[in-house]
Amino acid sequence: MLFRNYRKKTDEQLMILIQSGDHHAFSSLYSRYADRLNAFFYRMLWSDSTMAEDYVHDLFSKIIERPQLFKSGYLVKPWLFQIASNMCKNGYRKKSFEMEYLQQLQVTGIAESVAEQKLDEKIITDQIRLSLEKLDEDRRTMFLLRYQQELTIEEIAEIFQIPKGTVKSRLFHIKKFVESSIKN
């Protein structure tokens, strides 16, 4: 255990060690992916750094709780980003409920707090966030996976479980969103 060279191990080998309860392997896998996942969550979740860190924590907690979810023969990187994408989908769903609730509050005359207004103003100034918000959920995920995390088209296809051609087609149509936003 003490003399294992974790740096030389592949992600898949580390996952197998994690499944047998090796916390050094866990620590090593965390070091490889935590910052990348944090950057991904940050851009996916409205540039909210606290929420992004919470999601990183939750994702790795899932791995600790149920490491057997990783099946040998698959690759770890797409698997991790697949979990992250699914977590973001849940996050969007939760956010839409919250927005509906807030709208109801506004209808009933309860105003937003000053702190919330300031936070919103701060977020709106983030140009990348504004640009990303023009994309729908799936395209935003694909765009970030491709150009932020530099995943291959094959890896993205594996994450979404769709053919490579479909990934390329969806990414290519991002240009339409850009065109429409420029016209607006």
């Binding site: 620590s27 965390y30 944090n38 924590h57 150009y147 065109e179």
Partner: protein, 180 residues
């Protein structure tokens, strides 16, 4: 479509609008337009610069603690929670003493050379008619004796092994001297 994507993807990741050659520039103008390309290109270069974002160290500490807690062995759990520390120490002491007392003693065999007086054997060869007498005598022999912890070697009784000297055997002397 796939070829078009591959071309746009390559250009977006490697070039700005100013870097484009005439052919690529014409193609980009047709497909996405200059302003569209510049917006996309700017977005791609911005997100690619933030591939990593540091997570605060306490997240890792919490997770590693969680991992260790989940995979702690049954013995460690028992030692930590089920009994107080002095009880564990007493249990270990009891086990150590039990092993010491009840373990069967191993028989240690050592070799110790001792010198033992052995009965003197005289061989007398008489050649008739000649009067020549040969006498061979062995007076010391080293015998290995194996000792065990439970069985000590017996002392050799010198009286038992001492025999009568040749000179005292009168009959033999008479035979030799007389030459009969």
């Amino acid at each position: 479509m796939e070829n078009e994507f591959n071309r746009l993807d390559e250009i977006l990741r490697t070039k700005t609008y100013a870097d484009l050659n005439d052919e690529d520039r014409a193609w980009i103008d047709e497909v996405v337009g200059r302003s569209g390309f510049e917006e996309l290109s700017s977005l791609v270069s911005s997100v690619s610069r933030e591939r990593e974002r540091a997570v605060s160290s306490n997240v890792k500490t919490d997770l590693v603690r969680e991992m260790k807690k989940k995979h702690r062995g049954a013995l460690a759990v028992w030692l930590s929670y089920k009994t107080p520390m002095y009880a564990n120490a007493l249990a270990l002491l009891f086990i150590a003493v039990s092993v010491w007392v009840f373990l069967p003693a191993r028989e240690v065999i050592v070799e110790k050379p001792v010198t033992v007086r052995v009965p003197v054997v005289d061989t007398v060869t008489v050649q008739l008619p000649s009067d020549t007498v040969f006498i061979e005598r062995k007076i010391r022999v080293e015998v290995p004796v194996y000792l065990t912890r439970t069985a000590a070697p017996k002392e050799v009784n010198e009286k038992e092994v001492r025999s009568k000297p040749l000179a005292e055997d009168e009959a033999l002397r008479e035979l030799l001297v007389s030459g009969k």
